[in-house]
Symmetry: C2
């Protein structure tokens, strides 16, 4: 079988779906190639099931921390069933139906690039008139020390049909922290092991509050430790740590990082290295050859037919950023197919990436930390405020504790980064994202009055603390 399309997308996760949707909207015939489930990691083993596990936990906690509400209890079996329904019982009929409704063709199987504009899927040879887009995402990396005990990865942690008795989690990043919060609340006895602190890419208070929340929930959080040996014996895993202590568990979750799913997609056929992240320009075209000396990416050669969007380009490993890049990528391919150049290019993947971590308390951040901003040469000022002192927060929860930090570019007097930690902060961060992406000067933000008494009044307090 031999088929020709304008666009071939390898990977039918949210990124690939957005590329395809936008390419079709731009008048291009499009096929997506998927070796597993249409909908990708996010739909079945990441965002959706993990948040389906965490939302009831957060809602019960919110109710139980309010005088006047009593008796809210979690029913773990029902939480797992709710999670199953959000993962559509790991069937992709709905997503396939969406592809059909969007006039996107689907070829199932592993896609391998076999040369310029050519992709092979089993016996099917696909040819692209315009572009091949790699949107294959990432997989969990299992460190060698854990490999022999066949640990859970994020997939098993989000899809498990039972609550483990004792769960050891290795890794203090987002996956480790979220799964620790979920499974501890659902009845597991969780031990969380991190080499450094928790959520180390964010300002320290965020990880500190998450550690505090996990410990208050009964989890054993051990920071600054590494696993030196792991062994499984009659169902029990024993982890030996570099501080001389051991941890016993029924299951171990390896939450120690992600690797690009590019090892078996034929990169070698076009002179790229299998297993590598794919560098891209601001329209998601893949960079070829070596990086130029100095930092001027404009001198870097780009492919005229190969694109990479989402996790696989290593810019921002988050579903919403993959979707954003997917929209830009699909539009760019369509613009070039018409002989033009895209007018909308990626402005956010490096400097305005929002993220919500659905722990208890939640953590939400966007933009640059102070350290990142200074490394980028900005003259910054950091403003912090105790979220618990906002009237809306004290109403939200009797024992509200939280913190907000904003990083101001003093030369432009705009906000370049915000970090929030506290219950309910997940929906607060978008106001910051608008301020950062919109480059709204502080003296204009002053007229964006937050409603009283909402937690959003943190904005007034931050600006007052700045000196407005």
């Amino acid at each position: 079988m031999n088929d020709t399309y304008d666009v071939i997308v390898i990977g039918a996760g949210p990124t690939g779906e957005n590329v395809a949707g936008r390419a079709v909207r731009g008048g291009l015939s499009t096929v997506v190639v998927e070796s597993e489930l249409v909908g990708g990691e996010c739909s079945y083993w990441a965002c959706m099931p993990s948040k389906a596990l965490l939302r009831p936990v957060a809602a019960a906690a919110a109710a139980n921390h309010l005088r006047g509400v009593t008796g809210a209890r979690l029913d773990a079996a029902q939480v797992l069933k709710r999670r199953d329904s959000f993962a559509h019982d790991w069937k992709d009929d709905r997503q396939v139906a969406w592809l059909e409704s969007a006039h996107v063709d689907l070829v199932r199987g592993p896609g391998r690039i076999t040369g310029e504009r050519r992709v092979k899927v089993g016996d099917t040879e696909l040819t692209a008139r315009q572009a091949v887009v790699v949107a294959t995402g990432t997989r969990a990396v299992v460190p060698p020390v854990l490999a022999e005990v066949t640990p859970w990865t994020s997939r098993e942690a989000t899809s498990s049909h039972g609550v483990p008795g004792r769960l050891a989690i290795v890794g203090g990043g987002v996956v480790g922290c979220e799964m620790a919060a979920a499974w501890q609340a659902l009845g597991a006895r969780v031990t969380l092991l991190a080499r450094g602190g928790l959520l180390d890419r964010l300002p320290r208070f965020a990880g500190d509050m998450v550690a505090q929340g996990l410990r208050a929930a009964g989890a054993d959080v051990r920071l600054g430790v590494s696993v030196t040996k792991a062994a499984r014996s009659s169902g029990t895993v024993t982890l030996m740590l570099d501080d001389g202590t051991t941890v016993e568990a029924d299951e171990v979750l390896a939450a120690t990082g992600r690797a690009p799913r590019t090892d078996d997609i034929g990169l070698e056929s076009v002179g790229l290295t299998p297993g590598s992240w794919l560098d891209v320009d601001e329209t998601m075209r893949v960079r070829t050859g070596d990086a130029p000396a100095g930092s001027n990416d404009d001198d870097w050669d780009t492919s005229d037919w190969m694109y990479a969007a989402g996790d696989v380009n290593h810019l921002a490993l988050l579903t919403h950023m993959g979707k954003y890049q997917g929209r830009i990528c699909g539009d760019a391919i369509a613009a070039r197919a018409r002989g033009g150049e895209p007018t909308v290019t990626d402005r956010s993947s490096k400097t305005c990436v929002p993220q919500v971590i659905f722990t208890l308390p939640e953590v939400a951040a966007v933009g640059l930390t102070d350290e990142q901003a200074r490394d980028a040469g900005l003259r910054t000022r950091v403003v912090e405020y105790d979220l618990g002192n906002v009237a809306g927060a004290s109403l939200l929860r009797d024992d509200y504790t939280g913190k907000a930090q904003m990083v101001v570019d003093e030369d432009r007097t705009t906000i370049v980064g915000v970090t929030l930690a506290g219950p309910g902060t997940g929906e607060l961060i978008h106001a910051a994202t608008v301020a950062v992406a919109g480059e709204v000067p502080l003296d204009k933000l002053w007229h964006a009055v937050p409603s009283y008494p909402t937690v959003s009044e943190i904005w007034l307090r931050l600006l007052e603390t700045y000196g407005l």
Copy 2:
């Protein structure tokens, strides 16, 4: 006793406190005059107690609408006690302590203006070197037809120590809707009577959803009706309606509007009309004389010593807008005392007023409705999206229903208004407020990527629906 200050503020509600705090920060000696409790209506009989009543109701509802959480119940007595603590048991020690810490003097008693820059409080004659600020707020208006049954006003509705058996509420505005939601959930059998629909100043879907929510909770919502007669007999109030039906209740709440508390503050001594709203310029200086012909407010005379901030100027009857005006007012007085003119003036009270209505579901809005925008001569386009179709909303609650509407100024391609109705929308509106106040063009908003899977992804859906 005869005292001279730079600034005299009549009214120690949130607005007056902000005027005073900013005036002192500007180096001015300041006294506030308060006839009731320092902290004002908001602290004891409005925002704080009403939201203290409503927050447990919302938290219990959130828990009970999630598969996997069971058993959340309201304990009305404890909810009332929590409310008491948020109202500080109607004692103002804490607020008095704040005034002291801010170096603001306090004179208790009713303040009456007796001439230019002069205010009398009992036997005390106060003189202002710079300014007298009227920040006396509003009181509930009881319509004549209800007067003889001595109804509750917002004060009794927010401070009641018991749950009435049957509560009739007259008025479908914010107070009526919020109190209906609170007391129905706490055990009263509520009948809500509105002359039109509910929340008539907002797009219709908002009031429709609130009516639906109240009815689902068991309240009797009757729209398009007026009370023609009211009588109380052995504890029971009977209301006769213009549709021929009657309502019996144990208590009646008159939630039919507000009037300025200016009837007894000596306005006549300076040529103004007692009981009138006080028109102001964009620095909160009171307009004197008659309004100029046409619409050019710049030709309107303003007082050089008398200011009015908060509810009393009728611009936006909301605590946060009063505080905003208070900051502008205090800063303006300080700037003029230094011989300058203020650099920050009111930009939001007419076109960027946010409001959250803590009903079930919540309603949140900012800026202009389509009708208001067209009346202002803008060429608009309205975009709507079903909030329940956002992944983050379906995670938040099993049966999420809600709606979002954005009004775009097509000439500037900026957002001039947003209305949201649905659970949890109260904290979503600030992103809209930032977009409206920041005048962020849609093509820049496109790069403010909302986090997946949060309810804030409504932003992506609105922009996609617009055509981006």
